[in-house]
Structures are given as structure tokens and as C-alpha cells.
């Protein structure tokens, strides 16, 4: 009996070590990491493939769902296996402060004057503006939710809800649902009472929340009827409307917007090619093509000016959509993301 146990244990060990050795890889092509889905498919068409044709070198693309810790762990483990990564605003600031990214040579990128000021960073160049907004199926809900109070109201709008897993955005949404005015949002959230209040409000909805991590999930949940309202990336909603003829609606008031950036991981194998790629993806003529495929706002002003009005109406950067939208407070999340993420994870597992 003991022999059997030992044999089994050794067998598993041997298996694990072979897998480990087989996992080692050779020199690698320029690896670009986006957020998957419709956005990355569009990026692939207008940035990745044309750039690869121009430079004559192949590229690899991968996708991720964000999380500063993922990058931290990658850098801690030694030479990173990604070169260019699309990161969210606070990931950009955190990693730049922590020395995880290469400093960008904006002279080489060359379009600093054409960029909106917040899209220019010493470590990152703006990818696009996007919104996290309420989405619902317009065929199932005729008179849809108007704000986050409605989102929390499961009597008025029966069914489950889907939210992006993580502390960021959900604490804000919870406070909005609890009656906090958008202008005071981050003042309230900066206090301990405010954080407690947000978690208490999330408690109310917890049994009815289906959490998502990848941007494709909430639209699937809406399509299958598993949830009735979801917080979704705006581009996914118009994307599925176009691709599958759905009638999904977005609620722009109280949606939250932010800008993503391209960064180059420190010590990346292909960092020169990576900078060339960022320069390519920042040019006005290339950026102008992206909103034709997916509804995100462009940081290059010259590119933004060329967008046809019927497409511009669906972009997070459209003045009409921005009117009641709330910008993500990046500074707040730079200082608090670790503590609040830890608390959120504990809350989630309880």
C-alpha cells in the first residue's frame, strides 16, 4: 500500500517535471498583447498586420484581461514574454512608478502634438478611450434602466446582473446606486466610511451578481438571458449589434470612461520593434481606421476629426455621450488599488 502511494507520487513528479522542461521556448517574435474580442480583431486588421507587412517581420498576438499584478508577477519572474501591452490608466501609472515599463522616446513616435495631453505619458501612448456602461437587451427591456439605482433595483428590473470582477468601477457604481452624486464620488470613496458604504451596497446585490472577467462574457450573458443588465465595454455592445443584429442598448449617463495605453515591458526582447509599432499605431492615418471597425475614441486629434458623424455618435468621446459620463479618477486608484483589491477579494470569497 505504501509502495503504491510512493509510485503514484513519483509518477506525478516525473510528469510535472517533463511538462516544465517542455515549456521552455526559443527566441520570439514581437508580441503584442491587447484585450481580445472585437477591439483586438480590429487592431489586428488596422495596426498589427499592416505593421508586420511594413516591417517585414512576423508578430505574435495575445490577449489578457488586465490586472496590475499579472504584469508585476511577469516582471518578477524574469525576462517578460510580452513586448507591447495595452494597459489601463492606473496600470500605466503604477508600472511607470514601479519601473516595470520602458520609457518611451516620443521623438521617435513623432505625433506628440497631435495627441490629447492625457494620452501622452513618459511610459505610455494612448490606445483608445473606452467606457464601462450599463448595457441591456432592448428587445427584452422596453423601458430600460436609466442609472445605477435602477441597476440595483431587482424588483423593477428582475433578473441577475453582471459586473466586471474587481474593486475598480464597482465601488464607484455602488456609491452611485446609493445616491452619491457623481461630483462627490471620489471624495466619499476616499474615506473609510465611503468604502464601507460601497461594500455594504455591493452586499445587497451580491447574490444576484454574475462576475465577468473577459469582455466577451457580459454580452454573452445578456444574449443568453442569464442576466438582464450588465456593465459592459461600450464597443462590445455595438459590436454584437453589428455582428449578430441584436438590439442591445447602452446607458451613457453615469457610464465611466478612461483611456488605455500601449506600454513596453522593461527589458523586453523586441523593445525597438515595439517602439516602432507604437509609433505606427499612433499615426493619424492609422488611428482613423479603428473607429470604423469598433466604437472606441481615438487619442490622436487629427484622427478623431476625420471620423464620420454617424460613427462618432457611438464613441465614448462624443460630447453628447460625455455629458453625464464620469471620468475614472486614476490618482485614487494608484494609491488605493492594492488595499481595495485585497479587500474586494476577501469580500468576494466570504
Amino acid at each position: 500500500m505504501k509502495n503504491l502511494f510512493k509510485t503514484a507520487a513519483f509518477g506525478m513528479f516525473a510528469l510535472a517535471s517533463t511538462a516544465f522542461i517542455a515549456g521552455q521556448a526559443n527566441a520570439r517574435d514581437l508580441t503584442i498583447v491587447g484585450w481580445g474580442g472585437v477591439a483586438q480583431a480590429a487592431q489586428s486588421d488596422v495596426y498589427f498586420k499592416p505593421f508586420s507587412q511594413k516591417s517585414g517581420k512576423p508578430f505574435l498576438e495575445e490577449s489578457w484581461d488586465g490586472g496590475y499584478g499579472v504584469l508585476q508577477a511577469k516582471m518578477k519572474a524574469g525576462a517578460p514574454n510580452w513586448d507591447v501591452v495595452q494597459v489601463e490608466a492606473e496600470e500605466l501609472a503604477l508600472g511607470c512608478a514601479d519601473g516595470l515599463y520602458e520609457k518611451l522616446d516620443w521623438d521617435k513616435i513623432g505625433v506628440k502634438d497631435e495627441f490629447l495631453p492625457e494620452a501622452v505619458n513618459e511610459c505610455g501612448a494612448g490606445v483608445y478611450y473606452w467606457s464601462l456602461a450599463m448595457g441591456y437587451d432592448g428587445d427584452k427591456l422596453k423601458d430600460g434602466p436609466k442609472n445605477w439605482v435602477d441597476f440595483w433595483d431587482t424588483k423593477k428590473f428582475p433578473g441577475k446582473r453582471s459586473l466586471r470582477k474587481g474593486a475598480k468601477y464597482n465601488l464607484e457604481f455602488a456609491l452611485l446606486a446609493d445616491g452619491v452624486k457623481p461630483a462627490e464620488l471620489y471624495d466619499v470613496l476616499s474615506t473609510d466610511e465611503g468604502v464601507n458604504r460601497a461594500f455594504k451596497k455591493l452586499d445587497e446585490l451580491k447574490p444576484n451578481i454574475v462576475w465577468w472577467e473577459a469582455g466577451a462574457q457580459p454580452v454573452q450573458y445578456l444574449a443568453s438571458g442569464e442576466v438582464s443588465i450588465a456593465a459592459v465595454y461600450n464597443g462590445r455592445v455595438t459590436g454584437i449589434n453589428k455582428a449578430e443584429g441584436k438590439n442591445f442598448k447602452l446607458v451613457w449617463p453615469e457610464s465611466m470612461y478612461a483611456i488605455d495605453s500601449w506600454v513596453i515591458l522593461k527589458g523586453a526582447e523586441n523593445k525597438d520593434a515595439a517602439l516602432d509599432f507604437i509609433a505606427f499605431a499612433s499615426q493619424a492615418e492609422n488611428q482613423a481606421k479603428l473607429p470604423l471597425k469598433v466604437d472606441y475614441g481615438m487619442p490622436n486629434k487629427k484622427a478623431a476629426a476625420t471620423i464620420p458623424p454617424e460613427i462618432d455618435a457611438n464613441l465614448p468621446t462624443n460630447p453628447e455621450n460625455l455629458k453625464e459620463a464620469i471620468p475614472l479618477n486614476v490618482d485614487f486608484w494608484i494609491d488605493n488599488s492594492e488595499a481595495l483589491t485585497a479587500r474586494f477579494n476577501a469580500w468576494l470569497a466570504q
Binding site: 500500500m1 505504501k2 503504491l4 502511494f5 503514484a8 513528479f13 517535471s17 490586472g67 499584478g69 499579472v70 504584469l71 508585476q72 508577477a73 516582471m75 518578477k76 503604477l94 512608478a97 514601479d98 519601473g99 516595470l100 461594500f199 462576475w211 522593461k266 490618482d331 494608484i334 494609491d335 488605493n336 492594492e338 488595499a339 483589491t341 485585497a342 479587500r343 477579494n345 476577501a346 469580500w347 468576494l348 470569497a349 466570504q350
Partner: protein, 394 residues
């Protein structure tokens, strides 16, 4: 010639085990050692602030520190050129005291701009007048720490250095450990209840029936864990095979909640672990002479009594080995609860993976691993003790 031969004779056995020894050192002892070191090491701050460490003891910890500590701190920051090391330090400090990151980027910029002389830190940012920021620095100056190990069991040190429990909204690990052992124990019990009769059935079956029964155990064992779990995902989901079959047969009116909860996790983990229970029991049952049960019957024992008094004690070794295998491997389950379970069914390995891959907190990941290892070793020791006692009394 003679001496050469005796050397070979002497060293032969050692040479034979050398690869194994090397293998164990490389893949077992070394990783374990580095995990242990990770869980207590805390040099991200100490290695960059040697001057600060020298004068830190002079500070009373109450008010804003004097000029010497501030000057030493600025000197250290000037000397720190490795950006990544500075980043590690900032991260470590920010995890002790929120707000450090923006404070440090401000301070580092000022240090770069003023390469000589004193910098009035308090004028730069009012935060530097608050003792908790300095406390975060002085607390981090020791190269070793017990904060990860304490945090792994929901404890922490308060400002006075006493060990206290963490605020309730942050406690999580003890509950997760409890959940992990509870799920593993439940799975083990279900495996015994299902596996023993099945092993008995294989033992008494003959010919193609025996082969078919054995194949039913071995085929899943040879199939990837991920595939088996994904299969359960398909079977258990709301519109899945099980629910639709039960609804078509009018046994239930609406779909049962079988997935994203504890029920689903137990069902899938039991199925995945079953071969590890059946095979040891089967191998022990094979060695028990077939004529014992008829002998007991001939002495007038009821079949049930004969089973309890004869077969069960003799096969206990198989049950114990199977239970140990199932329980120990169940403790480390990760993929099955992740796919089949909800947020409240995740086991400790998913939290270890979270700290290792999604938060870059290797200290915490290592500490959780160490606690898991220690608890498992204790459980094994208890089992070993019980097993030997039983053998002695038998």
C-alpha cells in the same frame, strides 16, 4: 586493478542513486527551500536604505522624524539607481501604507532635481510630517518578516508589535483553509462510499465484465483532468444533459442548481478522484483469500456480519491508502473548483495562484503554501500514528 574494482564496487550504489538524489534536490528540496525563504524575506526596502537603517533606531516613532533620518533617507534615495529595485521598494511601502506611491514619485523627482544637500521633505509633501509614513519605512527595514506567515492565518502585528487578528473584513485565509479541508474530507468520504463497493464488484467479476469494469476506472484516469472537468461543466450546467434529462422525465419541474456551487464541485471532484480510491482498494481485495467469506458463512455468520468482521478489517489498508491519496490530492485542487465552483467554493490553491500570478505577492503565496504544507504534514502524522496503532493492535 584491484583497488579500481573495489572503488567501483563501493561507489556503484551511490552512482546509481545519484540521478535520483540530484532530481530530488533540484525539484523538491531547492524549491521548497526557496519557498520558505520567500515567505519570510522582506529585503525590498532594507537593501536600498542602508543609511536610513543606521539612524532609524534614534527615532521615537511618535512625531515627524528629525533631520538626520530625513537626510539619511534622501542620501539613500540618491544612491538608488536601479529603477526596478526602487519600484519593488515603492510597492512594498505602498502595501504597508496606502498613498506611498504618489508620495514617492513626487519625492524621487525632487531627489533627481536636487543632487546635493538637504531637501525639505515636509515642504515637498505634507504626508512626510505624518509619522505613519515613516513608520512604514522603519517597519520595513528588517530583512526578515513574519507578516506574510501571520497574514496567512489572518493575524497581524499592531502598532505596538503585538500579534492580533486582522480586521474582520480582511480575514479570509483561515476560512479558506477550513473550506479546503472540509471539501477534501467530503470528497474522500464519497469516494470511499462509491469506490469500495465498486472495487468489490471488480474483484468478484470475471472475464470481459471484469475488464469492462476496470476500463471504466482506468480510462478516466488516463484522461486529462481538464477534459474531465470540462465534461462535468457541460453535464451540470443549467441547460445541461443532467438537468434536461431530469426535466424530460418529469422528475423535476425547473433546473437544479448544479454548477457554480458546492454541489457541483463535490460531484466533479469525487468523480475525478475515484480511480485513486478504487485501485488501492482493489489491489488489497485481490490479496484476500476468496475462501474467507464462505468460511465465515459456514460458521453461521450473516453476510453483513462476515463483511464487517472479516472482509472490511482485512481491506482496511486499501481504504486507508485510497483515502490518503484522494485527500492529499484533493487539498491541492485548483482547476475543478475554478471551473465548476462559485466564488464561495474556491480552495486555497486558487488563492496561492492569485498571489503568485495576479498580484505578484510571492511572499504571501509562499506563506500560504508553507501553512498548507505544515497542516498537511500534521494530518499525515496523525494518520500515520493511527495506522501504526491499528497495525499493532491487530
Amino acid at each position: 586493478m584491484m583497488s579500481g574494482k573495489s572503488f567501483l564496487q563501493k561507489s556503484g550504489p551511490f552512482l546509481l542513486v545519484a540521478p535520483l538524489f540530484l532530481f530530488i534536490c533540484l525539484f523538491f528540496i531547492w524549491p521548497l527551500g526557496s519557498v520558505l525563504t520567500q515567505s519570510v524575506s522582506d529585503n525590498a526596502v532594507a537593501r536600498l536604505l542602508p543609511e536610513t537603517a543606521k539612524v532609524a533606531s534614534s527615532w521615537d516613532g511618535e512625531s515627524a522624524p528629525g533631520e538626520d533620518l530625513q537626510a539619511a533617507f534622501v542620501t539613500d534615495l540618491r544612491a538608488a539607481t536601479d529603477e526596478q529595485a526602487v519600484g519593488d521598494m515603492v510597492r512594498r511601502l505602498n502595501s504597508a501604507q496606502s498613498g506611498f506611491r504618489t508620495l514617492m514619485s513626487k519625492t524621487l523627482r525632487a531627489v533627481q532635481e536636487t543632487p546635493e544637500g538637504l531637501i525639505d521633505l515636509v515642504a515637498l509633501d505634507r504626508k512626510w510630517s505624518q509619522p505613519q509614513y515613516w513608520k512604514a519605512i522603519t517597519d520595513a527595514l528588517s530583512p526578515t518578516t513574519d507578516r506574510y506567515l501571520l497574514a496567512a492565518v489572518d493575524l497581524m502585528r499592531n502598532d505596538a508589535g503585538e500579534i492580533v487578528s486582522q480586521p474582520p473584513e480582511q480575514t479570509i485565509n483561515v476560512a479558506i483553509f477550513g473550506r479546503t479541508f472540509w471539501i477534501s474530507a467530503t470528497v474522500t468520504i464519497f469516494c470511499v462510499l462509491l469506490g469500495y463497493p465498486y472495487a468489490l464488484l471488480i474483484t468478484v467479476a470475471t472475464g470481459w465484465k471484469k475488464q469492462a469494469l476496470l476500463a471504466a476506472v482506468l480510462l478516466p484516469l488516463w484522461t486529462s483532468l481538464l477534459v474531465r472537468t470540462a465534461a462535468w461543466f457541460i453535464l451540470l450546467q443549467e441547460q445541461g444533459l443532467i438537468n434536461s434529462a431530469l426535466m424530460d422525465l418529469n422528475i423535476i419541474a425547473g433546473p437544479l442548481a448544479l454548477i457554480f456551487n458546492r454541489t457541483g464541485v463535490i460531484i466533479a471532484m469525487t468523480h475525478v478522484s475515484l480511480p485513486m480510491m478504487v485501485l488501492p482498494i482493489y489491489s488489497v481485495l485481490l490479496t484476500i483469500p476468496k475462501n474467507l467469506m464462505p468460511a465465515a458463512a459456514s460458521l453461521g455468520a450473516h453476510p453483513l456480519r462476515a463483511f464487517v468482521r472479516v472482509l472490511l478489517p482485512l481491506s482496511f489498508g486499501g481504504i486507508a491508502a485510497g483515502s490518503l491519496l484522494v485527500f492529499m490530492s484533493a487539498i491541492g485542487y485548483y482547476i475543478t473548483p475554478a471551473l465548476i465552483g462559485g466564488a464561495g467554493d474556491q480552495m486555497i490553491s486558487s488563492f496561492i495562484a492569485f498571489h503568485a500570478q495576479n498580484s505578484g505577492n510571492w511572499g504571501m503565496a509562499s506563506a500560504l503554501g508553507i501553512v498548507l504544507l505544515v497542516v498537511t504534514i500534521i494530518l499525515y502524522a496523525v494518520y500515520d500514528r493511527l495506522a501504526t496503532q491499528r497495525e499493532r493492535s491487530a
